[in-house]
């Protein structure tokens, strides 16, 4: 049996951290794509499209991420025969979670622009998507960068809950090592430090971006 020294524990946690990072990237990309579509739906002029996207955002923002994970992992399998691996279920739930919040951030950035920007676009003969692509999005992206980076921290922290449906990332590795060694204080401190090292630079970057933006404005 291996001896669990501090450095051994730390190395094992670092190996598992790889999956925390991978899952975060997957969730961010998936959530970004879906979130963009939902944000467009939220500002649509068609009522039922707005309704559906509103319900989508309300569900994913108004229910715990843990329940979303349970529904994806246990619920789909029992009710619909869709058996997802922990990684697939985590991808699905985290994509839903991330997309709902990103959609809200991005919708807010678009709504923050004066309506005259759209009108100017239509006055020079641009269609809806031309207005969006050439006039609205370039400005909205600038507004949304800081909160988007800030939300990435929430995504990384959110991936820790994937441990509960059995996906082995940093938190699950910590729990498993804890079950063997019972050095809880040490292990969860180390796990916390690793999460901190992942999240703190992003938080700082987000705050920096926000300051830069408010100086310009």
């Amino acid at each position: 049996m291996d001896e669990f020294t501090v450095s051994r524990i730390f190395i094992n946690l670092l190996i598992a951290t790889k999956w925390t990072i991978i899952l975060s990237i997957i969730a961010f990309i998936g959530g970004g794509i879906v979130g963009f579509l939902v944000a467009l739906m939220r500002i649509s002029s068609i009522k039922w499209v707005r309704g559906i996207s509103w319900a989508y955002v309300e569900f994913f923002q108004g229910t715990p991420l843990l329940l979303q994970l349970f529904l994806a992992f246990f619920g789909l399998s029992v009710a619909f025969g869709i058996n997802l691996s922990p990684l697939q279920a985590a991808t699905l739930a985290l994509t839903g979670f991330t997309s709902a919040f990103l959609a809200d951030i991005w919708r807010g950035s678009i709504a923050a622009l004066p309506i005259g920007q759209w009108e100017a676009g239509s006055a020079i003969g641009f269609g809806y998507f031309k207005q969006l692509q050439l006039i609205i999005l370039p400005q909205a992206v600038k507004l949304s960068v800081a909160p988007t980076v800030g939300f990435l921290v929430q995504v990384i922290k959110g991936t820790s809950l994937a441990s509960i449906i059995g996906f082995t990332e940093l938190s699950r590795a910590a729990t498993q090592i804890n079950n063997v060694t019972l050095q809880s204080l040490l292990i969860f401190s180390l796990a916390g430090i690793i999460y901190f090292l992942l999240c703190y630079p992003l938080s700082t970057w987000s705050q920096h971006l926000e300051r830069k933006l408010s100086y310009k404005a």
Binding site: G62, T63, L66, A79, G192
Partner: protein, 224 residues
């Protein structure tokens, strides 16, 4: 695939769910109350002008905001006993959530405090208020009124976070779901219903927040 949905399992076990929902509300309320006190003290530290107090509060905020709640919960429930502090699942749940909510509300309340014009503080000092009384009676009420919506948003996130305490076997709403799931295997019905109950709680908070705002922060409307 011919699975027939049976939400009857919910009605048959409504007592279990209600008991779980009750604990979820209890943990949320206590944690938010304690957390708000921590947040107000933290905001006072952050705006005190004392560099050491400011640094302590900032370090606390950054550590909590940049680590997952799950790790904070496990640290308190499994880690603190290593130091001789043993807590029940319920106590650990309330403490960890209060510490978590405290960090976020520190930053929210700080923003509110900094939104108050300096002249208000100077006026208070000029008529002979002590520094602490200025903070309590002059700065804090309008500061809270200014950041009230952000605070409510954080309250909602805190309530949703409580679902994680099921992992240390605190018998909250999500734990009730796990229990029923392991007995009936009606995973979809159970977890979907529970998700909707959380959504109902969230809507209730939004509704209540409207009345609380009218009750306590009406004064702020006419100030500006």
């Amino acid at each position: 695939m011919n699975y027939s949905f049976d939400f009857g399992v919910i009605w048959d076990n409504i007592g279990v769910l209600l008991a779980g929902a009750w604990l979820t509300l209890k943990i949320s309320l206590l944690a938010i109350a304690f957390g708000l006190i921590i947040g107000i003290i933290g905001a006072a530290f952050r705006t005190s002008g004392n560099r050491i107090l400011d640094w302590i509060a900032l370090a606390y905020v950054e550590v909590i905001r940049n680590t997952p709640y799950l790790i904070q919960l496990l640290f308190i429930f499994f880690g603190l006993p290593n130091l001789g502090l043993k807590l029940s699942a319920e106590q650990a749940a309330i403490l960890s959530l209060a510490v978590n909510f405290g960090a976020y509300s520190t930053e929210i309340v700080r923003a509110g405090v900094q939104s108050i014009a300096k002249g208000q503080v100077e006026a208070g000092l000029a008529i002979g208020f002590k520094k602490l009384d200025v903070f309590r009676y002059i700065v804090l009420p309008p500061a809270l009124a200014n950041v009230y919506p952000a605070l409510i948003g954080q309250v909602i996130l805190a309530v949703l976070f409580t679902s994680v305490v099921s992992q240390i076997a605190a018998e909250d709403l999500t734990f009730a779901g796990d229990y029923l799931n392991s007995r009936t295997f009606r995973s979809f019905e159970i977890y979907f219903t529970i998700a909707l109950i959380y959504l109902g709680i969230v809507w209730l908070i939004k509704l209540m927040s409207f009345f609380i705002e009218r009750q306590f922060f009406e004064f702020a409307k006419y100030r500006r």
